[in-house]
């Protein structure tokens, strides 16, 4: 058995948004994406590109790693 780690990108966009009391639509309009994209990023259904991630972080005035962080989860796979 070989243990692999899976890197999962998590976001705190909803927390930052709540701090600023912004709606998803307001954030989406400010960044230039659709509301569905903000919803997908917050729900973990979509990992934004580096450019979009920086744009979101810059909008909140925070460094990138305060808005997005990586979570390592062990994933056991049988060795081939």
């Amino acid at each position: 058995m070989k243990t692999k780690t899976v890197l999962q990108i998590e976001s705190k966009v909803h927390v930052c948004r709540a701090e600023r009391r912004l709606s998803q639509q307001e954030l989406a309009d400010a960044i230039g994406v659709t509301r569905a994209t903000i919803n997908a990023i917050e729900g973990g259904g979509y990992n934004p590109s580096l450019e979009l991630a920086f744009r979101i972080a810059r909008h909140f005035g925070k460094p990138l790693e305060d808005v997005f962080f990586v979570q390592e989860t062990p994933n056991q796979e049988s060795q081939s």
């Binding site: 230039g32 994406v33 659709t34 569905a36 994209t37 997908a40 979509y46 934004p48 590109s49 979009l52």
Partner: protein, 194 residues
Amino acid sequence: MKQVSQILTKTFIYLLPFAVAVIFCSQFDFMESIVKFPNLVLLLAVVMMAWLVAGIYFFLALTFNSHYRERTLVKLANIRERDEREERIVGHASRQTFLIMLAVLISLFALSTVRYDFTQKTADDSTRSITIGHFSLFDLKPEMVTSNHGGVEHQYQSYSIPLSKTGLLLLMVGVQLAAFKLTARREIQRGEAA
């Protein structure tokens, strides 16, 4: 020029249901009764002529003008690429559509090369055979209609696409693969140039 293009495109698209309805109704006998109303016949003829002219422009522009094709078909297919997530969704959907269409074309091509011959010699002794590979890529036979008016015979010949079903399907498979390869290469070159 752009306005003329828009008018012709809208003429073709908005008159399409009307043209289909007229063509459909012309199959029935009651359409012959409208001959009694010459103004209506004239109006129908003008509208159909406008649709036909717009249609010729539409097909030529779709074939030869890449900007027009992009603008018109994106709107017709309701493709939305407002941000990177939607671009990614369209990319995934296009990939799946491409693979499905390729699979369908290859299956149809394979089916078009198979010929099934059934010959029954007698009631007891029958011969059946499946022939594979007896196909032609070209079909150059014209379709011919003959009419006879007052003892004078008229022959009308029409040539459609000079490819057989098999040839056409093979062409479509080739076009699909080549278009994908060329588009991918263009994207790579664009990425390297940036």
